[in-house]
């Protein structure tokens, strides 16, 4: 079955894509929405333009759809992008990296049904620490590119997801009720390398924007 991956460039959608490939599915294209609203309800926003670099090293076509990022308009934009994927690449299904977000998963389910596509959420209800540990096991190189909640600060930007990171997340979960996989919007990630990439991406430089406990990092890829 030919699939599109609803792709943010972060750890969840990339890991979901890897699972689909491992199960023998063909990833025909990536679909990314670039939200002009940095507080989008549906889509991960930091560094999303960099998905172009990721698509290139994956050797998979990318549909990049701009959206104003307003609550229901962005769903229409998503539907238009998936319709394009269906027409251009003949996709029959859509993979998402949804773990806990019923808001995100149920809206994608409805759009898929309207378009006659099958929805796949292979990380659905997955244990958050198991997910982080599997990323390490699969040799994912992932960094933090956005933090949006107390007690995170600017210093957290650029952190790699490694064993030390997982141990810190375990402490933070206990102390601050932080979602260790960041799906609650506490932090956002960017994948620099994984088994789907022909080669890893290297960072040339970055700019940080924000204040207090809300920061995002725009990276430049070499």
């Amino acid at each position: 079955m030919k699939l599109a991956v609803l792709f943010s460039g972060g750890k969840d959608s990339t890991f979901a894509a890897l699972l689909a490939k491992k199960e023998g599915y063909e990833i025909s294209c990536l679909v990314s929405l670039v939200s002009e609203n940095k507080e989008s309800y549906m889509f991960h926003t930091p560094s999303i333009e960099k998905v172009k670099n990721q698509a290139e090293v994956m050797g998979v076509p990318l549909i990049l759809q701009k959206t104003m990022g307003e609550k229901e308009i962005e769903l229409k934009d998503l539907k238009a992008a998936l319709l394009e994927a269906k027409k251009e690449f003949g996709i029959e299904g859509v993979v998402t990296g949804a773990v806990e977000s019923v808001y995100q998963a149920s809206r994608v389910q409805k759009i898929c049904q309207e378009l006659g596509l099958t929805s796949f959420n292979p990380l659905w209800q997955k244990d958050q620490f198991e997910l982080l540990e599997e990323l390490i096991k699969e040799d994912f190189e992932v960094i933090v590119v956005g933090v949006f909640a107390y007690p995170f600060e600017k210093e957290f930007l650029g952190r790699k997801i490694d064993k030390k990171f997982i141990e810190e997340m375990k402490l933070m979960e206990k102390k601050y009720k932080i979602n260790p996989a960041g799906e609650g919007g506490e932090f956002e990630s960017f994948v620099l390398n994984c088994p789907l990439f022909k080669k890893g991406l290297e960072i040339e430089g970055h700019e940080d924007f924000g204040e207090g406990h809300s920061w995002r990092r725009e990276i430049r890829i070499k």
Partner: protein
């Protein structure tokens, strides 16, 4: 040992509809083994102390054309606790002479429980993902207030069914069933 019956036609849907149930049982140290509904044999049913039939995706209803594979449910020799979730709920209803209806519901819905059902009481926010519902035969008792059956139990057997997906917000229901 709990037999988990997988209804999914697509391999990738296992992670979405079966693995979450396995994880809930695994975290509590409950033993289980999983098989596709097409591969369940007499020995599996003998080995299992309980059976859970999981749900599957909105687009996947191939199991409805394969109901003969579930004839063991109504067999007089089968007397173990059984829980059907969404697609599994539909299978149970149809095996016992219920009638299938069409109604798509996706997302959170509030359901009022009239009495205790595997630990659920009063109003609950449940996750729905279905295109069908079942009008159950009189063999089944209904536990919720709404017009469509949401949670049922066979009147004389330990056979339970839920139309919603308890693995999302009512994980304890699965553990209650595992303790029966």
């Amino acid at each position: 040992m709990i037999l988990i019956v997988n209804l999914c036609n697509e391999r990738l849907h296992y992670f979405e509809f079966v693995k979450p149930i396995e994880d809930i049982l695994d975290r509590e140290g409950r033993g289980f083994f999983t098989k596709s509904y097409r591969e369940v044999v007499k020995e599996d049913l003998e080995k299992a102390k309980r059976v859970i039939i999981c749900g599957t995706s909105l687009e996947d209803d191939s199991f409805l054309d394969d109901l003969k594979k579930f004839s063991w449910i109504a067999d007089n020799g089968f007397n173990k606790p059984l829980l059907g979730i969404c697609g599994g709920f539909q299978v149970i209803g149809l095996v016992f002479g219920g009638v299938l209806g069409k109604k798509t519901e996706v997302g959170f819905f509030k359901e009022k429980f009239l009495k205790n059902f595997l630990g659920l009481e009063r109003e609950q926010e449940v996750y729905h993902l279905h295109n069908n519902f079942i009008k159950f035969s009189k063999d089944f008792e209904r536990f919720t207030e709404s017009g469509m059956a949401q949670a049922v139990k066979h009147r004389s057997k330990e056979i339970y069914g839920v139309l919603f997906h308890p693995e999302v917000r009512q994980k304890n229901l699965i553990l209650e069933f595992a303790r029966l």
